[in-house]
């Protein structure tokens, strides 16, 4: 498994599009943190204060997790787009092992992206807050939020690989995942609201709740467990699909 993981990470490091996406992470993190700090106290936003560091850390979460998710989708479904699934499966004929290696590689990449994002966010937000006279205090909640950002981005990366395993067509995979992310969960939660209130327990709501835990959302540990449950379920379905699929 270790060598499969190394091979998957090498695939990522040697694909220009992937490197470009990874290089975009600090830029995006910087822009979002800059916007969060500069818009504080304007356009209805809270002014800079003791909670601003927490906000700055959480602000890039949506962009970051979406990027990790899509890289996971492309990392798996892209094997069919480029036909690399053939040499890949000739090297790794046990298809379940391949999916696990992809999940692990994209989880690691997601975690790395989150660490870079945190570093950039802190590098911008801390001096900004200090110059504004706000006392910067690294509270336990800040540490928990940072840990949750790393964990959720890793989980999104793995989830993307599982989702990508369900499709042969990369464009369809990306499209379906984006539609589910932007609309699908809300529609499903709305349709079922009469009987069950499951909106907070669907995958992407849980991912959001992990980073921005607060009143009315599941506790972080519960959100993490439920997200892992979704991931395990999707991984089982993905492994089944990949195992049965003929590569013609």
């Amino acid at each position: 498994m270790k060598r499969l993981l190394r091979a998957e990470l090498l695939k990522q490091r040697t694909a220009p599009a992937f490197l470009l996406a990874f290089a975009a992470v600090p830029v995006l993190a910087g822009l979002v943190t800059f916007a969060t700090c500069s818009l504080a106290g304007r356009q209805g936003n809270d002014p800079l204060g003791p909670d601003s560091l927490l906000h700055a850390i959480g602000a890039p979460a949506s962009v970051l997790t979406t990027l990790a998710l899509l890289l996971g989708v492309v990392g798996m479904a892209g094997e069919y787009r480029h036909g690399t699934i053939i040499p890949t499966l000739l090297s790794v004929p046990r298809r379940g092992d391949l999916l696990v290696a992809k999940m692990a590689a994209h989880a690691l990449t997601g975690a790395s992206m989150a660490v870079v994002t945190l570093a950039v966010s802190l590098a911008i937000a801390v001096p900004w807050l200090m110059s504004a006279g706000v006392e910067v205090h690294v509270s336990a909640e800040v540490v928990r939020a940072a840990g949750a950002l790393v964990a959720s981005t890793a989980l999104y990366g793995a989830l993307g690989a599982c989702a990508g395993a369900l499709f042969r067509n990369q464009t369809a995979a990306v499209g379906v995942v984006l539609v589910w992310l932007l609309k699908g969960e809300d529609l499903l939660a709305g349709a079922l609201a009469r009987w069950w209130s499951i909106g907070d327990w669907l995958p992407f709501a849980l991912g959001e709740g992990l980073v921005r835990a607060g009143a009315g959302t599941p506790a972080r540990w519960a959100a993490a467990l439920a997200f892992i449950g979704h991931l395990a379920g999707l991984a089982a379905v993905g492994a089944g699909v990949v195992a049965r699929r003929d590569v013609t």
Partner: protein, 298 residues
């Protein structure tokens, strides 16, 4: 060295039977030509052999084990299935390094494999800029990474220039002489006949022939084509001495015999001849004869 066995191998895609109860053994130390027209079931068979397609029935094994059961398969089997199985943005050497890492092989074998196929100079180039011939060579380099005992090559000459084809021919012969099992699927019969020493022919998914090349072509008939303004007379003369002959054109007779028999008949009867050509049927004729016989049966 590995022996490869197909036992009752069958694949159905819905109502279509792509491969129908194939029973075969591929022998070490030989280059086996796996022949058939497009759609005959060659590629599906090779993909079942390599675990990419699940058989509906039967099994394909390497020394009794399915491909998925092989430990470090890259050390046992090398395969070229498509010349387009590359990420276009990845460098050639990186493509091989990924496969070497996944296959548990030392990364330096990537460079060695590129040298063997004559692509060392293009190692740092991105595959998207490669010609079809270069991609074929890169696919072959990937197959050679683990120095496997078995090579499975699906249409490996596609896209190669004449020099490349000649190189491939020499290369495959050398691999077989080292004791490797080499399977080459192709529809280029004339090319294959210069490389293989055993021939397997399938048609509509069914086995039509499985024999050494020499044996197949030895059974082949010899014909003589004569162009003559007295074709009708020649036909009568040949019939009179028991030769199977027929008019194949206004001034043309084709006789299933040897040139000396026809020449003697012409001389003895003073028949005017404008041309005479002896023709021994080659692998292509054998192939079409066998597949058309099979078709007329079904």
């Amino acid at each position: 060295m590995a022996s490869i066995e197909l036992q009752g191998l069958t694949k159905r895609f819905g109502p279509l039977t792509a491969v129908d109860d194939l029973n075969l053994m591929f022998r070490p130390g030989t280059v086996t030509g796996f022949l058939g027209v497009n759609g005959a079931g060659k590629t599906t068979t090779l993909r079942m052999l390599l675990g990419l397609v699940t058989p509906t029935a039967g099994a394909a094994t390497f020394d009794g084990r399915r491909y998925a059961e092989l430990d470090e398969p890259a050390r046992h089997v090398g395969a070229v299935l498509e010349a387009s199985s590359f990420h276009p943005g990845r460098r050639a050497v990186d493509h091989l390094r990924v496969l070497a890492t996944a296959g548990g092989l030392p990364a330096e074998q990537a460079g060695q494999a590129l040298e063997r196929v004559g692509l060392a100079a293009a190692a740092r180039r991105r595959v998207g800029g490669f010609s079809l011939g270069m991609r074929q060579r890169l696919a072959l380099a990937a197959a050679l990474l683990g120095e496997p005992a078995v090579l499975v090559l699906d249409e490996p000459a596609n896209g190669l220039d004449p020099e490349g084809v000649q190189w491939l021919r020499t290369f495959l012969r050398a691999e077989a002489e080292e004791g490797r099992t080499v399977i080459v699927s192709s529809h280029l019969l004339a090319e294959v006949s210069q490389t293989v020493d055993h021939v397997v022919i399938i048609d509509k998914g069914r086995l039509v022939a499985d024999a050494p090349l020499g044996e197949l072509t030895a059974e082949a008939t010899e014909t003589v084509v004569v162009t003559s303004p007295e074709a009708a007379t020649l036909l009568t003369v040949l019939g009179g001495i028991g030769v199977d002959a027929q008019l194949t054109g206004q001034d043309e007779v084709t006789a299933s015999t040897t040139p000396d028999v026809v020449g003697k008949a012409i001389a003895l009867n003073g028949i005017v001849v404008h041309g005479m050509q002896a023709r021994r049927s080659n692998l292509e004729d054998v192939f079409f004869n066998l597949t058309s016989t099979e078709r007329s049966r079904s």
